[in-house]
């Protein structure tokens, strides 16, 4: 799957989990850029992403996520 498509799908997951249709993320987006993205909702986002793409991140992978781009790359790796 192309990164562009992964990003679009992750954006949809953000919209659903954070209950905000206006959210627009890009590879550089971090938690400080999105209003409701905190440590709690981060867990929900990760779980939703894992379910959607049918993948599982390891706990060390999780700690390394610094922005959306990191998540997209990790997803892309898992889908190969």
């Amino acid at each position: 799957m192309e990164n562009k498509i992964i990003l679009k799908k992750v954006n949809n997951i953000f919209k659903d989990v954070l209950d905000d249709k206006k959210i627009k993320i890009n590879e550089k987006t971090t938690a400080s850029d999105v209003q409701d993205w905190d440590s709690l909702t981060h867990i929900q986002l990760v779980v939703a992403i894992e379910k959607f793409f049918k993948i599982k991140f390891t706990s060390s992978e999780l700690i390394k996520f610094k922005n959306v781009g990191d998540m997209v790359s990790a997803i892309s790796e898992k889908l190969k």
Binding site: D16, D19, S39, I43, V47, F57, T58, S59, I63
Partner: protein
């Protein structure tokens, strides 16, 4: 309601809670409890409850419970939830020596008992304590059953001790987390990744299920319980159609898929045994339908298990309406079971308050589904429950008799009623608590009491209590009315006056009033004061106090003792 996903549930938090009943709940945990807080409040919305939740800071259980002036006590919750996760418990256990391990279960139970006592005495609050998932830690394998100092052994023992503790502590409710985790499966219920990264003891998916069960307990304590199950017959209690297939052709017992229906009937009978009222609403010839119960050798339910048997060609809607009127229960306390999705839709639309489970297509899956729905949570269980169906059938006989009397007075005399009236004794306590939790119609102030609270009131010097047991020539109706009076300097305040609707229009109210009067005279009380707090369901007693001669003064009903006269009753007292 099968638990929706956490994500969908969370959307409830933005909805309107304004009209809902407010109940203060505190959550104390040694793991991250934020999702649990959100899930519980969200499910509360589904049950029309505004659960106002105080969530203690991380890992503050002891400090909050033991500290005399902690945030917990300042918040004054009605319900306190304590969740000690198995992960932390395991760590604790592994740091104990053998001697300590041997008494781990017992010591843990003692600690919980002490916390309960402190909470109960300081707040009178209910404690909901989560028990422990029973997992094998792979140290002894199955051999752990033989090793008293092993973790699996002690955890199982602790869960058993918690059960025992809950039988003596009326306001302690054990949330059976062990069963819930087992049902979902440990692999799905617990996500070690998030325990490691975020101290989350349960997976996100597990939260709606746990929250639902917590709220089920809160609802039951609040009087929101199921009292009656209405069942269809064909393809619901047996496979096939009795009218077409006949006694030989319906599937029950060993025939065809009969085993799942036998299982289902066995469980329904168990519900009846526990005090749930069973009623039949079926489109069938009455004689043919009854014949199936009388003559099929494999039929598990019998006619005496049903309080009402409506098999006829009327619409199911009319039958259900009649059942509701006859039993005098609210629709929200009823469950309707039917294999046919179209029938279920019609009943759902016509009676939005009736719970209509969406039974799976395969009858073999019904019990799993229904058990997970946890429809029959309760906060009380008394001897009355076991006799309920018998009492209702006796009542039906009374109703028939009433029809044949033109004169009401003659009817009452003919009933040959005898009452036992006096203060609450130990045996009355469970039934009184249950009446206070379940009565909605003949209930002047709708104050809900737990067994523990009734026990305290019965021993309090500030209160006088009255319990009424009634018998008539058809049978023993048991404890049917309970009154709690609060003494002040020169008045007697009616804190609670509840009565079972089964004994309306019999003169029990007058009997009670006579008794209150004699108590008041004995104390030298000048005035009896009552209060009517209107609810959706107690319109029946709007005129209760004026009918007894009370007059309204400053929002309360008052009756000077000097103006009271003894009322005529057709009830003898022992």
């Amino acid at each position: 309601m099968t638990s929706p996903s956490f994500n969908i549930l969370k959307k409830n938090l933005k909805k309107d809670f304004k009209k809902f009943k407010n109940i203060k709940v505190a959550i104390l945990g040694d793991s991250a409890t934020q999702f649990l807080t959100q899930a519980i409040r969200a499910i509360g919305w589904e049950k029309q409850l505004d659960l106002e939740i105080f969530e203690a800071d991380f890992d503050q259980i002891d400090r909050q419970v033991l500290g005399a002036n902690s945030d917990l006590y300042k918040f004054r919750p009605e319900i306190i939830i304590i969740f000690e996760c198995y992960q932390k418990t395991t760590e604790l256990f592994y740091n104990l020596n053998d001697k300590q391990r041997k008494s781990f279960a017992y010591n843990s139970k003692t600690k919980i008992k002490n916390s309960y006592k402190i909470i109960n005495s300081r707040l009178g609050a209910k404690l909901v304590y989560f028990n422990f998932p029973q997992m094998n830690d792979g140290v002894f394998g199955n051999f752990a059953s033989k090793i008293e100092t092993s973790l699996p052994y002690q955890i199982k023992k602790l869960n058993s001790l918690l059960n025992k503790l809950s039988t003596t502590c009326g306001d302690l409710f054990i949330l059976d987390l062990a069963s819930l985790v087992q049902k979902l499966g440990t692999k799905i219920a617990i996500d070690q990744k998030f325990w490691s990264n975020s101290s989350l003891a349960l997976s996100i998916d597990m939260h709606p299920i746990v929250a639902k069960n917590v709220v089920d307990i809160i609802c039951a304590a609040n009087g929101d319980v199921i009292k009656c199950v209405i069942v269809d017959l064909d393809n619901t209690l047996w496979g096939g159609i009795i009218g077409d297939d006949g006694l030989d052709g319906i599937q029950i017992g060993e025939l065809g898929i009969g085993k799942s229906f036998s299982q289902f009937q066995l469980w329904l009978r168990e519900l009846r045994r526990r005090g749930i009222i069973l009623a039949v609403a079926s489109k069938n010839n009455e004689r043919v339908a009854k014949d199936a119960f009388k003559n099929h050798p494999d039929m598990i339910l019998s006619l005496s298990d049903f309080a009402i048997f409506a098999a006829n060609w009327n619409s199911k809607i009319d039958n259900i309406d009649n059942i509701q009127k006859t039993l005098n229960l609210s629709f929200s306390s009823m469950v309707f079971l039917d294999d046919n999705p179209l029938e279920r839709e019609i009943i759902k639309k016509t009676f939005p308050l009736i719970t209509v489970p969406d039974l799976p297509q395969d009858a073999t899956e019904w019990l799993t589904y229904l058990q997970e729905e946890n429809l029959f949570e309760t906060a009380s269980f008394s001897v009355e429950d076991k006799k309920r169906t018998r009492h209702l059938r006796q009542n039906a006989k009374r109703a028939l008799r009433y029809e044949s009397f033109a004169d009401e007075t003659l009817f009452l005399k003919n009933l040959k009623m005898v009452a036992k009236i006096g203060p609450f004794n130990t045996f009355d306590i469970p039934r009184v608590a249950q009446l206070s939790q379940r009565s909605n119609q003949f209930n002047l102030r709708t104050v809900r009491y737990s067994e523990e609270q009734i026990k305290r009131i019965s021993q309090s010097k500030k209160h006088l209590t009255v319990a009424v047991q009634l018998k008539d020539k058809f049978g023993d109706l048991g404890l049917i009315s309970a009154i709690i009076l609060e003494k002040t300097s020169d008045t007697l305040f009616v804190d609670t006056w509840i009565m079972s609707c089964r004994v309306l229009k019999r003169g029990v109210e007058d009997l009670v009033m006579n008794h209150i009067l004699s108590l008041a005279k004995g104390l030298g009380t000048k005035t009896i004061v009552g209060e009517y707090i209107p609810t959706e369901k107690n319109g029946l007693v709007k005129k209760h106090f004026p009918n007894l001669g009370f007059t309204k003064k400053k929002g309360l009903w008052q009756l000077p003792v000097s103006k009271c006269e003894k009322r005529d009753v057709y009830i003898r007292t022992n």
